[in-house]
Amino acid sequence: MLPKDVENYFDTHRRSTAIALAILLVTVISGFFMGMGQTRNFSDQTRDLRDRQSTSAENQPPSGKIPTAIGYGDLATATFRPNTNWSSSLNDLATADESYLPVAAMTKNERRAAILARESLRAFDGAPPVVPHPIDQISSSSCMNCHSATGPQPVIAGRTPARMSHTFLSNCTQCHVASSGHGEGVTDWKLGLGSIETRFAGLSIAAAGDRAYPEAPPVIPHTIRMRENCYSCHGSGRVNALTTSHPERQNCTQCHAISAAKEGRDFDLLRLRKPVRFPIDLNPPPPPASDPTPEPDTKGNPKP
């Protein structure tokens, strides 16, 4: 089509073009004012937000007037409520989708990353992990909201909170302390004694579990005291965790034996026992002369 043809087209359709422009103008102007109106009535909660609407009565704003702003000093004891579009109820957050379908086994690097992530929160294998996020200093119930043994688990920033194994213990901060000082605004890392290096080298959790023979299920290489719920750490969908490749099998200790040596169980009965020779140890070949002892890793653990 030539430009002349276009001109001719508009010439012949002048009337309908004017009508179209007029409609556009009206839409723009009314749209502008509608937008203004909507901004003003933001707290009227008419927008359709991605998050589900909160339905609980306690989340409704006080009716009638806008709440008075308060000082930061009063935040801890403030009784005001957020507006209804703010989802302050954990039950309203998206929850973890726990799958029980088999998944691919983790790669070596994934395992290494997971172990490092775990080690960063523990002084040694078996130590209660420190809490990697700010905590409520006074109330255990706030811990239970996310870390309960049952119920839906909210996904927060892509992570799923660990499920607690020891539900009979209700004083969480007795063993689990925050890694970030007092909390928001108080800690001044320049105060206090400062960091004195420690030479404490705790038991590493890097060692894989022993296997009796190549395809045997590995022995659990750590104590399971206080962590009897294997899914808390090994369940599918955990970020930076040693997740199981076979979540469909739920009776973990059916195949994975617990290690008495790691737990120090019955250590004072050891003196009653005779040294044990394992039945599999029938014809041990002599160790090569050049390598009389297995090479330990840096922490003195035998190489897996």
Binding site: G71, S140, H176, S179, D188, L191, I196, G264, T293
Partner: protein
């Protein structure tokens, strides 16, 4: 492949063999005949936790000569496998990079290395020059043997009673409370009460943070479906309050009025236990001046004295609503419900500490809530062997081992005889108690400061004494004063020390502790101390030996033998002062010293268990009495016939050490009296000091554990948010706190661990860089001599910005 398998099997069996060998050797004290394996693996052994007086047992995992893991001991009755965050990290206390590893002496203001022999000689020469001017200051962290040798050196060797433990600052009021009520120290009940009680009352006590394992033992009963009522009586809201059914907030010092009010109601409502009182109790009150045993009064006198404390009158003093006071009165008046009272520093660090201890025992006795499982007044201690060493070995200026006192001639004669000393060796006059001892040390000799050499072991008075400017810092510049400090790390006390001795710690040595429930607990050395660090007991013996060699007469017994004459099982004298032979395969010195001490414990029926029984157990509660079948039986409930073997048949309850000599316990009347310092116009706030979960006392050990330090890196002032707003202080702002004795700048924290009522603040004392004890009061209880760290008057304001900047020290390199 088979090679790999075999290697693993070999490792496994050799680890087990190592464990067997180690345990065998420790249990039987001789080198094992088992083959010594070349390979290492984790070897586990038992030990009581190094920290508080709860006395949890931990399993210590040692690999290649170092602690690598800690676990709760499932076999321990105290903690049943659970620990607190300090306990789980207790292995780290050995491994701070600034561990002291060699003796250091101050020359021209600087600490420089010196040999052990020279260090011991320096101390011995100072003692020989002025034996009366020497004082020994230890703690409830002394093992039994360490406290015992210190006690014997001072009272038996030097005829010098200036020996004190820091326990004077900690549980002295509990001791005087027990003695003046029952005639003998330490709780009659035990932790089993926590499993059986229906109601627990915490008197100014925050066990959720300070005794968390015991607190969990209580509240976990709720998770198991049991009913337990928790009543928190306090002057601030804490984590314990969070779990409480009732929070009763009272004005500081008015706990005395509340206890009297409960007694008033029991009598006015005729709900006291008449049978119990008639059979087992007598009444007593303080004459003027106050004394340990007071004088007898009649029940009518008692009735008249408490009549004044009606709920309405008490409400005015205490600020507690009448309804809550009546609730308490009704509770104690109810038979059948089991009530356990718990307390710790809130009642003990009190200028009326003995009085409030007596009153709490009194309301339990008056109401008959006494002597059956779950019905008990139980004091908790803060140090691992405050009971075992300070109280039982009696390392106090007035005491002798086994509940004896220097003032009593028969007690002195018994000890002189037991120690084979000439008659009259032990000085009948009590020495200086802690506050006087430090006051005399920090006062110039010319002005009457007659203590010139002070030996500090296992404690950190430079941080923990009250009113530090007067009682500690004043030592600086007094050239004729000499401070010897045995320590594991540099502390506020080593700052002013003239001689620093590196000490071995916890499982670097053999030891025995005694916990809050009369439980004696033993452990073996598991790892080597670093560098040239040595045992505190050895230091004391080595000093004694040096004095013996110098010809100091007191270092010989009646037969001319060395004061610490110990013989091997085959009768040969053993050179205990020789460090190279201190640990060896054939002779356990800790065992020998403990067994010597054990012979002194039966007079007050505090019979501690034989060492070899302790080795097999996770601690045993005294009196431990041998049965007809040869076994040893511990005692859980003292003075109650169903459990205590020393109660005569048919007596039901027998206070066989009664001060009124009639098997009765004393119900005391002690009036409420205003505290010595109260807020006024210039100093309008109450200051209360205390502890936090993560740090143990002065933080010497716990500040070197990254997990604990990161959770609680520095101290703070806890305020009521309304007070903070009025003073224009936000969270993290620096406040300037001033008392009549000193000042300090601290960051403000509200909405955190606890909330004090308006007009009062709380400051933890663990931080050696921010010493709150510069501000505290050194006024003390007239009977127990324990100072009050919980109440003094201060002013608070926002620190000027430039001042605030000054408080920030440069980061530690």
């Amino acid at each position: 492949m088979s090679n790999t398998i075999d290697r693993r099997q070999f490792l496994r069996s050799s680890a087990m063999a190592a464990a067997i060998a180690a345990v065998h050797q420790r249990a039987f004290g001789s080198a094992s005949a088992l083959p010594q394996p070349k390979m290492t693996g984790i070897v586990w052994n038992k030990a009581p936790c190094r920290f508080c007086g709860t006395g949890c047992h931990v399993k210590v995992g040692v690999e290649a000569g170092k602690i690598v893991a800690i676990a709760g001991d499932e076999k321990a009755e105290v903690n049943k496998g659970l620990l607190c965050v300090k306990g789980y990290h207790v292995g780290g206390i050995l491994y701070g990079e600034d561990r002291l590893t060699q003796p250091l002496i101050r020359r021209d203001g600087k600490l420089v290395p010196i040999s052990w022999d020279s260090a011991i000689t320096v101390i011995a020469e100072r003692i020989a020059k002025n034996p009366k001017g020497f004082a020994f200051y230890g703690s409830g962290q002394w093992t039994v043997a360490e406290g015992y040798v210190a006690q014997k050196l001072m009272k038996g060797g030097l005829s010098n009673n200036h020996i004190e433990p820091n326990a004077r600052l900690c549980m002295a009021s509990a001791v005087t409370g027990f003695i003046s009520t029952y005639g003998v120290d330490e709780p009659a009940g035990c932790y089993d009460d926590l499993d059986a009680c229906d109601v627990v009352i915490t008197w100014g006590n925050n066990p959720a943070e300070m005794h968390p394992v015991l607190f969990s033992r209580l509240i976990d009963r709720r998770s198991k479906g049991e009913k337990l009522q928790l009543i928190d009586l306090g002057t601030r809201r804490t984590r314990t309050t969070e779990h409480a059914d009732h929070y009763i907030q009272f004005n500081p010092q008015s706990d005395l009025a509340i206890a009297n009010c409960i007694a008033q109601q029991l009598i006015a409502n005729d709900t006291y236990d008449k049978r119990f009182v008639e059979k087992f109790c007598a009444f007593r009150a303080d004459p003027d001046p106050a004394s340990l045993f007071g004088g007898p009064i009649s029940f009518d006198d008692y009735k008249k004295s408490v009549a004044e404390y009606t709920p309405e009158y008490t409400a005015k003093i205490s600020g507690v609503p009448v309804a809550q006071l009546k609730m308490l009165g009704k509770l104690f008046g109810t038979r059948g419900v089991k009530i356990t009272s718990l307390w710790c520093m809130g009642m003990n660090q009190h200028t009326r500490g003995t009085a409030i201890n007596r009153l709490v025992h009194g309301i339990h006795l008056l109401s008959g809530h006494w002597g059956t499982p779950g019905d008990a007044p139980t004091s908790l201690t803060g140090q691992p062997s405050a009971c075992g060493t300070a109280r039982e070995v009696g390392t106090l200026c007035h005491a002798l081992p086994g509940g004896r006192i220097v003032a009593e001639k028969p007690h002195r004669r018994f000890c002189e005889n037991h120690w084979n000393l000439p008659v009259g060796r032990i000085n009948p006059k009590p020495g200086y108690h802690t506050i006087t001892m430090w006051d005399k040390f920090c006062t110039p000799t010319a002005e009457g400061g007659d203590i010139d050499t002070l030996f500090v072991q296992v404690t950190n008075p430079g941080q923990s004494l009250p009113n530090l400017h007067k009682l500690y810092k004043a030592k600086e510049g007094l050239d004729d004063k000499f401070l010897v400090v045995s320590e594991i790390y540099p502390t506020a006390t080593t700052e002013l020390a003239d001689l620093v001795l590196p000490a071995s710690l916890w499982v670097e040595k053999n030891g025995i502790f005694g916990n809050s429930e009369r439980r004696t607990q033993q452990w073996f050395k598991m790892v080597e101390p670093p560098g040239d660090a040595r045992d505190d007991a050895w230091m004391t013996i080595a000093i004694a030996r040096k004095l013996y060699d110098m010809g100091v007469e007191g270092m010989q017994d009646k037969s001319g033998r060395f004061l610490f004459h110990l013989e091997t099982p085959d009768g040969k004298p053993y050179p205990v002062w020789n460090w190279d032979k201190y640990y060896n395969d054939e002779f356990n010195i800790d065992r020998a010293l403990y067994e010597e001490y054990r012979g002194m414990t039966t007079w007050k029926n505090k019979d501690v268990a034989p060492y070899d029984e302790l080795v097999k157990s996770r601690g045993l509660r005294w009196p431990v009495v041998q049965q007809s079948d040869g076994s040893w039986r511990e005692t859980r409930f003292r003075f109650s016939e169903f459990d205590d073997p020393y109660v005569e048949k048919g007596k039901e309850i027998q206070f066989y050490h009664s001060t009124s000599k009639d098997d009765r316990a004393q119900i005391w009347f002690c009036p409420y009296e205003a505290p010595p310092e109260m807020p006024d116009e210039t100093y309008p706030f109450w200051l209360c000091t205390g502890r936090v979960l993560e740090h143990w006392h002065t933080g010497t050990m716990t500040m070197r554990i990254p997990e604990l330090r990161d959770a609680m890196p520095h101290t703070y002032v806890e305020m009521n948010p309304k007070d903070a707003r009025e003073l224009n202080l936000a969270n993290g702002d620096i406040a300037l706190l001033k008392s009549r004795r000193g000042e300090i700048q601290l960051p403000v924290w509200f909405g955190g661990r606890g909330t004090p009522p308006r007009g009062s603040v709380f400051v933890p004392f663990f931080d050696e860089t921010l010493l709150i004890n510069d501000l505290t009061l050194h006024d003390y209880c007239p009977v127990s001599k324990e100072p009050d760290y919980k109440k003094c008057a201060i002013s608070i304001r926002k620190a000027p910005p430039e001042k605030a900047a000054e408080t920030t020290p440069p980061p530690t390199p």
